[in-house]
Symmetry: C2
Subunit: 202 residues, 2 copies
DNA sequence: TCTTGATTTGACCATTCGGTCAAACTCACG
DNA sequence: CGTGAGTTTGACCGAATGGTCAAATCAAGA
C-alpha cells in the first residue's frame, strides 16, 4: 500500500477514480451485490492494483460513505435559526430536491445501506446524525413556540422532508414508470413547495 | 420437483416455510446479498431439499414478489370513487401506515428491488402498477375538478403518500436512531393526517 | 544516468455460492 | 404389509469472488 506521506499525483488520481467507480457500483447493486472486479474495471485498474490503494472492498465502502455523509448532511447544517422560518425550511427542501436530481447515486448509496439495517453506518446515525437533527429540531420548536410556523411534530417534519425528496432519487424507476416522459422534478418542485406552505403556514 | 398435481400437505407446509424464510432474508439483504443456504436454514430445510421445491434462487424471489405485489397494492385498489373524497384518501393513508408498521419486511423487499433499478419487476411497474395508478388519479382529478379536494398534481400526491408512509418501514433504523424509544407510529399517524388534511382541504 | 521507492500485473489461492445427482428414506394407500 | 410416488440428503461440481504475492515496470530526484 502507498505510504501515508503526501499523496502523489498518481495516488490522488487513482483514489478518486476508485471512489467514483465505487459510487457507481455500490449505489446500483448494494454492498454485497458489488464486486471488486467490477469497481476495478470501471475505475480502469486491475484488481490487484485497486487493492494496492484500498486494503479491502469494505474499506472502499467505508471511505465512500464517510466521505459522503458530510456532503449529504450539508443542507440541513445550513438551516439558519436566524433566517425567516418558512423560507429557511423551503430552501432546505429545495436543496434536498436538487440533490435528489443531481446526486441520485449518493442518495441510493445511503438508501441501500439504510434499507438493509445500516450495518456499516449505524454508529454515525445515532451520534452525528442524531445530534444534528436534535439541534435543528430545537430551532424548529422555537419557531413553533413563537408562532412563526404551525405546530407539528418536529422530528416527523424532518422525516417527511427526507422521505418526499429522496423518494425521487431512490425510487426513480418507479416514478418514471408511472410518469412516462414527464420530468419528475417539474411537478415535484411546485407540489412539495405547496405542501409545506400549507402545512406550515400558521 | 413436485408434480403439478394437487399439492400435498408437506408441499404446502414447505413452500410456505420457504417463502416466509425468503421474505426474511431477501428483505434484509437484497437479492444478491441473500444466499440459498441462509434461506434453507431459516426454513429448516437442507439446500437440496429447498431446491426440490423451487428450481432456483431467482424462482423463489420471483414467486415472492409476484405473490406480494397484489397484497402490496390492495389498499390503493380499495380507494372508492363514490366515497367521501378526503376520507377515502385519509383511510388509504392510514392503511399504508399500518402496512409499514405491520409488514415492514414486505416494504423493504420492494424497496430493495426498486432502489437497485427493479431489474426483476420493471415489467409489472409499467403495466399493472401504472394502470392502477392511472385509474386512481382519474378519480382524484375528478374530485379536484368538482372542488371536493384542493387541486394538486395527482401523481405527485400518490408519490408523496408512498414516500411518507413507506419511509417508516424502509428506513426504520434511521427513524429509530433519531427518535430513540418513542414509537415512530405514535407521532407519524397524527402528523401525516394533519399534513394531508391541510394539503387537500379545498 | 542510476537508483530507489512507487506502481502495476499475471498467476494463484481459499472460500463461498448456486446448483446437481444418485441414493436413501418416508408416507399414503391398496 | 408392500409398493410406488413423494421427500430428503450427503457428496460433489464449476464458477465467481475477495484477496495475496512475487516479480516486473515506471518515475523522479540525486
Amino acid at each position: 500500500m502507498p505510504k501515508d506521506r503526501a499523496p502523489t499525483r498518481i495516488q490522488q488520481k487513482n483514489r478518486a477514480a476508485i471512489l467514483e467507480a465505487a459510487l457507481n457500483v455500490f449505489s446500483a447493486h448494494g454492498f454485497r451485490g458489488a464486486t471488486v472486479d467490477q469497481i476495478a474495471a470501471e475505475a480502469g485498474l486491475s484488481k490487484p492494483n485497486l487493492l494496492y490503494y484500498f486494503p479491502s472492498k469494505e474499506a472502499i465502502h467505508t471511505a465512500l460513505l464517510s466521505g459522503l455523509l458530510e456532503v449529504w448532511l450539508a443542507p440541513l447544517h445550513t438551516l439558519d435559526e436566524n433566517g425567516e422560518p418558512l423560507e429557511e425550511i423551503l430552501s432546505y427542501i429545495r436543496r434536498k430536491l436538487e440533490m435528489s436530481r443531481d446526486l441520485p447515486r449518493e442518495s441510493r448509496l445511503f438508501a441501500n445501506e439504510l434499507v438493509q439495517g445500516a450495518p456499516r453506518i449505524h454508529e454515525a446515525l445515532s451520534s452525528d446524525l442524531k445530534k444534528l437533527v436534535d439541534e435543528k429540531t430545537t430551532t424548529l420548536t422555537r419557531w413553533m413556540d413563537q408562532g412563526q410556523i404551525a405546530r407539528v411534530h418536529p422530528y416527523h417534519l424532518i422525516f417527511s422532508i427526507w422521505a418526499l425528496t429522496q423518494h425521487y432519487a431512490d425510487f426513480d424507476v418507479q416514478v418514471r414508470a408511472i410518469l412516462g416522459d414527464e420530468n419528475p422534478f417539474d411537478g415535484a418542485v411546485p407540489f412539495v413547495e405547496t405542501l409545506y406552505r400549507k402545512l406550515l403556514t400558521p
